[in-house]
């Protein structure tokens, strides 16, 4: 007989071991899945986890791409983790990401073709503000009218997608694009472009900002009164209120910060790897970042690692698709398993498994 016994306090050892176990279990189950699909499971696992980092043909290209892919995930997930810790559920980072990109690109396109040093900093400010403003809608509705921020922030994603489509087709459409939707390519506008800082590293300003956000959040959570309040509000809202924490203020701060960071991620993406405002600009970073935040235990360092791991499964997954002919759906199922096993083994840090008969009390 197997029984779960609640631990008096979450196990620290399992807190560290659980993600590792989850990754191991994912690899094992994934290998089974790939074998059923008729692919050599070892080759598949190697292609996903090893080749992007160490293959001679690819690694010099895919290693930097890891940062490019992980950058926005980490930046958004860091913002979300603050809210999630405090019990403020921002599910609409995808929308804030879009609005940040639109606002930032708007600044660039307004100045085109002027070359001036202040354009990129202005874009960064506009990008952050765009995401922040979009997140303020659920924040104000929640604090004023007690609406549910999960629903409002999520539904605003679809509004943002319509704004994006309208911008790509109308106001921001490239006048030299022959009538096709999409803005000018910012990569070809030096004052607004966000290229690699050091050639061959993938390190653009978005990645730099993500790393700064990781450090800043670590300091905030562990050394700062606001961080304490955030943690307290999440663990015990009643105690937080007695301790003088204003819940409305926390809602505004958490949604605002996560919105601003998502907006920044959008801006760095639109000025860098994506290059232009287009109808399909958003590819789900805002939603994937939710997984990254939980995969990283809502801990800044955890999120950093989780973002890199997630990026690795994306890039490795792409390689596995065309190197081994695995279907895209198998790769997505594989990524899903990762979250599934992580949440599954999470039980081990809060519970102890007891084998054998129940002792007589």
């Amino acid at each position: 007989m197997i029984r779960l016994e609640k631990r008096p306090a979450p196990s620290r050892a399992w807190g560290v071991a659980a993600p590792l176990l989850a990754v191991t279990l994912t690899m094992a189950a994934g290998a089974g899945l790939f074998a059923l699909l008729g692919t050599d499971p070892l080759a598949a696992i190697r292609t996903i986890f090893w080749d992007p980092l160490f293959n001679e043909q690819f690694a010099s290209y895919s290693r930097p791409q890891l940062l490019v892919k992980a950058g926005p995930l980490i930046l958004i997930a860091i913002g979300l983790s603050l809210g999630f810790r405090a019990g403020v559920w921002n599910i609409g980072a995808e929308g804030q990401y879009i609005m940040g990109a639109v606002a930032g690109a708007g600044v660039a396109l307004a100045f085109y073709p002027l070359e001036a040093w202040f354009i990129f900093p202005l874009m960064v400010i506009a990008g952050g503000l765009g995401g922040w403003a979009w997140a303020m809608i659920p924040a104000i509705l929640k604090t004023r009218f007690r609406t549910n921020e999960i629903l409002v922030s999520l539904l605003l994603v679809y509004v943002a997608e319509q704004v994006l489509a309208s911008m790509s087709l109308g106001l921001m459409r490239n006048p030299e694009g022959g009538g096709f939707p999409g803005s000018r390519n910012l990569q070809q506008y030096p004052a607004a472009a966000n290229p690699e800082r050091i050639a061959g590293t993938g390190m653009h300003w978005g990645v730099v900002t993500a790393l700064i956000a990781v450090i800043a959040t670590y300091v905030l959570l562990h050394r700062h009164m606001l961080g304490f309040q955030i943690r307290l509000a999440g663990q015990s809202p009643r105690a937080a209120r007695f301790a003088g924490v204003d819940p409305n203020r926390l809602v505004v701060i958490c949604l605002g910060t996560s919105g601003a960071l998502a907006g920044l991620a959008g801006l760095f993406e639109v000025a860098g790897p994506a290059g232009q405002v287009s109808i399909d600009f958003n590819v789900g970073y805002g939603f994937t970042a939710i997984i990254v935040a939980f995969l990283g235990r809502l801990h800044p360092v955890g999120i950093l690692l989780a973002g890199l791991l997630m990026a690795l499964t994306y890039i490795g997954g792409e390689l596995a698709q065309f190197m081994l002919g695995l279907p895209a759906a198998a790769i997505q199922a594989f990524q899903g398993m990762l979250l599934f096993f992580l949440l599954g083994v999470d039980v081990l840090s809060n519970f102890r498994i007891r084998l054998g008969r129940r002792e007589v009390a």
Binding site: F54, E56, G178, P273, S278, V283, F322, P327
Partner: protein, 357 residues
């Protein structure tokens, strides 16, 4: 042997294997916007890929990647394919245009073929099919079939290719049915079964009894089947599993001959960047079987129209035609030039609603 040397040896062996296969056979990559099982656009491109494999056997190795988003991800996928030793890469959606050119600039020895785009380079050619020829035949049948005089159109993106299709279908529906009305829904997707089904249902609720689609899934066919008494046409692929009703005919993209031809050119080292735009005549666009749900006389007319287009007797855009705002576009007997067609950003007279701006 310690771990490090073991890994190094393994890596070396992989590298060797890669180099060897690159020498033996020609490697052809395909980048798809939807899943190969979409039953429409991507399905037909993949059929073309399979035809290449069958035609060349061991001389050619093909690789593909499905459901690649149009944007930054496409650039990475293309780069990785080029790095893996591909000699020729087909990028099969409009949105891959800039990524294709960016990557092509970095790999001058790799040839690229971009479908439905208009930008070329020394190692980037473009190709597309004159789908509007098929749309004309479709419009003719649709105009004859509709009883409510309302034809629904699920459009994807407001780009010239899609607008051209709407215009071609409308002109020929109107010719046989002056009272016909088009209702257009812009889905902003190439492949999204849920959105496509919603659009079809909305159109049917607005009274449409014929649904045309420029999206890639069979979801509109399923929605029409459920509603009953609604006619549809297969898009990009035959979608024959919905025949004889609701699917009464289809436009089939036939890429195989072109793909085989271009791969052969790479093998012979005669490949050059060019722009191919073939239609029914060259066999790149096919009209799927017209089922018995269509009256025999309508079927005969439709086939005659197809024949006339195929042998060049008739151009689907022949004047007199006015633009939506009433200004003259083509005078009596005048036919549209390819330049105008490729950049088409206006509706013809009679269509209601606006192209989204």
């Amino acid at each position: 042997m310690n771990r490090r040397t073991l890994l190094a040896t393994a890596a070396f062996a992989i590298g060797l294997a890669g180099a060897a296969s690159a020498q033996d056979s020609t490697k052809v990559g395909f980048v798809f916007v939807g899943p190969i099982g979409d039953g429409g656009w991507t399905y037909e491109h993949n059929q073309g890929r399979l035809a290449v494999e069958e035609h060349f056997g061991d001389a050619v190795e093909t690789v593909y990647q499905e459901s690649v988003p149009e944007g930054a991800d496409a650039e990475r996928v293309l780069t990785q394919m080029a790095l893996s030793g591909a000699d020729l890469i087909f990028t099969t959606s409009f949105g891959y245009m800039d990524p294709t050119l960016n990557v092509a600039a970095k790999f001058p020895n790799v040839k690229f073929e971009h479908a439905t785009g208009y930008k070329r380079a020394d190692n980037v050619g473009t190709y597309s099919a004159r789908f509007y020829e098929g749309r004309a035949v479709q419009g003719h049948i649709a105009g004859k079939l509709t009883e409510s005089n309302i034809i629904g159109y699920i459009a994807s993106y407001p780009i010239p290719e899609v607008i051209r299709g709407i215009n071609a279908a409308y002109i020929h529906a109107k010719k046989v049915n002056p009272d016909v009305q088009f209702k257009v829904i812009w889905a902003y997707t190439w492949f999204d079964p849920a959105k496509e089904a919603d659009a079809a249902t909305a159109l049917i609720e607005q009274g449409a009894d014929v649904i045309l689609q420029h999206t890639d899934s069979t979801a509109p066919q399923a929605a029409a089947e459920k509603a009953g008494n609604v006619y549809t046409f297969g898009q990009a692929s035959d979608m024959g599993e919905y025949a004889p009703m609701p699917r009464v005919s289809s436009i089939i993209d036939n890429w195989a001959p072109y793909y085989i031809d271009r791969v052969q050119a790479v093998i012979d080292s005669t490949w050059e960047s060019d722009d191919t735009w073939d239609g029914i005549g060259a066999g790149m666009v096919k009209i799927g079987e017209i089922t018995d749900a269509v009256p025999a006389d309508v079927k005969a007319e439709a086939l005659a129209l197809k024949e006339a287009i195929a042998n060049g007797d008739y151009h689907p855009f022949t004047g007199p035609l006015n633009k939506q705002d009433g200004t003259v576009w083509l005078a009596e007997g005048e036919t549209a030039d390819d330049g105008t067609l490729l950049g088409m950003d206006f509706y013809v007279e009679g269509l209601t609603g606006e192209i989204p701006q």
